[in-house]
């Protein structure tokens, strides 16, 4: 028995891309959170609905913990009622005519009244919803609605939890607050979770495993940090938001290090992901991995030390996004305090440092 979801299927939709899931596996560990991440229209929600049993794929198989949920060859599809999942849609879909307690108790039909009551109370307390029992969904804030939807989905202890854009219908401050909160709630539950999002910050903050999707296809799967720091190709780099992508040529490979020429400047990167004989490469550098020093600053261990001119600064929450010219364009992300201490402004000369492992190389002719 392979734990978790094992799925390969195709789903066609009028007016949308053909959705092809190839070998989707969501680790078996109870608390694994798998994030389906991609731009809108990439087919994430449809995939989730196929897993839930709300849509029926044209062909393929879906298994959960070794149990067949869908098999087009056998003509088998376990109805959604019997998959025992918790599903939270994007708009939460709370029943508008039922109060909070009745919404949460909906899935406990058939349980003894006492048992029902104690489970609802327990779940409400766990999610901090006490006192809202009699409220109707229309009388709740967005964050409260989200927690009621989560409570309703988990109160009967489903085997798998499916969340569609769990934070996207909230206002920005609530979303930022709940981003961290949601992950710890999901870990406490210990139910394997598959979550859909188009927001990179959300994907990074909530997930263990990342599945990058585009145009209905799975582009890359792996631990979150791996996928974000080492995109398999340019399409993934674009989707995970790699700020600097440069074109270069490998001039030398020795001791596991590659020397790459970009616009006549030499950079050093790890050669581990390069196939032998690779020449033309894309260099991916994340803005948060770029360190800035005052001009003529002290020696440093970083392999790449570049003289740069500040072109522009743009605030981004508590951070500042900086565009640099080092003979090629480079982007850096610094805290505002760091910017102030370095007295950065457009036209200033600085030194940019990048450690060799922070330059990810994607071979061109693959």
């Amino acid at each position: 028995m392979t734990p978790g979801i094992q799925a390969s299927f195709t789903k066609r939709f009028a007016g949308g891309p053909v959705i092809r899931v190839e070998n989707l596996c969501t680790g078996g560990n109870g608390s694994t959170i798998t994030v389906l991440f991609g731009p809108s229209g990439s087919g994430k929600t449809t995939m989730l609905r196929c897993l839930a049993g709300l849509e029926r794929p044209e062909e393929g198989t879906i298994q959960f913990d070794g149990e067949i949920w869908f098999d087009s060859g056998m003509g088998k599809s376990v109805p959604v009622q019997r998959r025992n999942i918790g599903f939270v849609p994007q708009d939460y879909a709370l029943f508008p005519h039922l109060n909070v307690a009745d919404n949460i108790a909906y899935s406990l039909h058939g349980l003894a009244a006492m048992e029902k009551q104690s489970r609802v109370v327990e779940t409400m307390r766990w999610l901090g919803l006490n006192g809202l029992e009699q409220r109707l969904p229309g009388e709740l804030s967005g964050g409260q609605q989200q927690r009621v939807a989560l409570a309703r989905a988990v109160v009967r202890r489903p085997r798998l939890l499916l969340l569609d854009e769990p934070l996207s219908s909230l206002d920005t401050p609530t979303r930022q607050r709940l981003r961290g909160e949601l992950r710890s709630l999901l870990l406490q539950l210990g139910i394997p979770t598959i979550l859909v999002t188009h927001d990179q910050l959300e994907a990074a903050a909530l997930g263990d495993q990342l599945v990058v999707l585009d145009q209905g296809r799975m582009l890359q799967t792996g631990p979150v940090a791996d996928v974000i720091n080492r995109p398999a190709n340019l399409a993934v780099a674009a989707i995970v938001g790699t700020e600097t992508v440069l074109l270069g040529h490998v001039t030398r490979v020795s001791d596991g290090l590659a020397t790459v020429t970009v616009n006549g400047f030499e950079l050093t990167a790890l050669a581990e992901s390069l196939p032998p004989g690779a020449n033309a490469v894309h260099l991916c550098i994340r803005a948060e991995d770029v360190i800035l020093l005052q001009n003529g600053g002290a020696p440093a261990s970083a392999r790449n030390r570049l003289s740069a001119t500040v072109l522009a600064l743009a605030p981004e929450g508590p951070l500042m996004r900086i565009e640099l010219d080092c003979g090629f364009p480079l982007k850096a992300l610094l805290t505002r305090q760091a910017c102030d201490e370095l007295a950065l402004k457009a036209g200033a000369s600085v030194v940019a440092l990048i450690k060799a492992p922070h330059i990810h190389l994607i071979s061109f002719n693959r």
């Binding site: 839930a52 049993g53 709300l54 109805p79 959604v80 009622q81 025992n84 999942i85 918790g86 599903f87 849609p89 708009d91 879909a93 029943f95 508008p96 005519h97 909906y106 899935s107 039909h109 309703r152 989905a153 009967r156």
Partner: protein
């Protein structure tokens, strides 16, 4: 008002209540099938159900007369199996009212059900609810307002039915005479003042049914 007039008002209202009660369950079930399922022949059934809305009621009455008469296919079967007569009895009145008000109920109920967000029904299914439970705990309560309006509309329509009733049930005093057929009869006999009394009662009943329906809808909204 005379006892005769009271009897006619009570009979007509009773028949309207009976016919509405008869069509309620099948009407809502059909409305649900039209709103929620895709099936072959759906548009055909839709058109067929709507026919009494546009067909001259007399024609509908004629068709019923032929079907339910003792020599008609249904009437013959009912008589030979159960010794039941339909045509020119109170049963024919209920039948005519039911057939004539059925499309109004189905149409109103259908749009009421269509207004219920299907995502709510889907979520109920993910929470383990079967189709019956989804219908009775989600669809029905959320469509309640529209279903009630449709029921009252059907009732109001039944109160005023004339053409089909007179064809299939005739106008037999004390047996099949309704408000409408009696008003027609009284005017024919030149008893206009009596006709006006009954017309006034018709107006009051129809007004009350529509007004209650409106009031219920307004109350739900606020």
């Amino acid at each position: 008002m005379t006892t005769d007039e009271w009897q006619i008002v009570a009979f007509t209202a009773g028949m309207a209540v009976l016919s509405t009660a008869l069509i309620l369950a099948p009407g809502v079930a059909l409305a649900w099938c039209l709103a929620r399922l895709r099936w072959r022949g759906k548009s055909l059934v839709e058109t067929f159900v709507a026919l009494p809305l546009v067909l001259p009621p007399v024609v509908t009455g004629l068709v019923l007369l032929k079907l339910f008469g003792r020599r008609g296919p249904i009437g013959h079967w009912l008589y030979s199996e159960f010794h039941l007569d339909v045509v020119f009895t109170w049963r024919a009145v209920a039948l005519a009212l039911a057939v004539m008000s059925f499309p109004l109920l189905v149409r109103t109920a259908r749009s009421a059900i269509e207004e219920v967000n299907p995502a709510l029904e889907q979520i109920a299914r993910t929470l383990g609810a079967g189709e019956w439970r989804v219908f009775f705990t989600i669809t029905l309560p959320l469509a309640k307002r529209g279903l009630l309006a449709g029921t009252l509309l059907a009732f109001a329509r039944a109160l005023g039915e004339f053409g089909a009733t007179i064809m299939v049930a005739g106008n037999i005093p004390g047996v099949t005479t309704t408000l409408s057929t009696d008003i027609y009869q009284l005017v024919q006999l030149g008893e206009d003042s009596h006709a006006w009394v009954l017309a006034g009662i018709s107006l009051a009943l129809a007004f009350a049914a529509l007004w209650v329906s409106e009031w219920l809808q307004r109350r739900r909204k606020t």
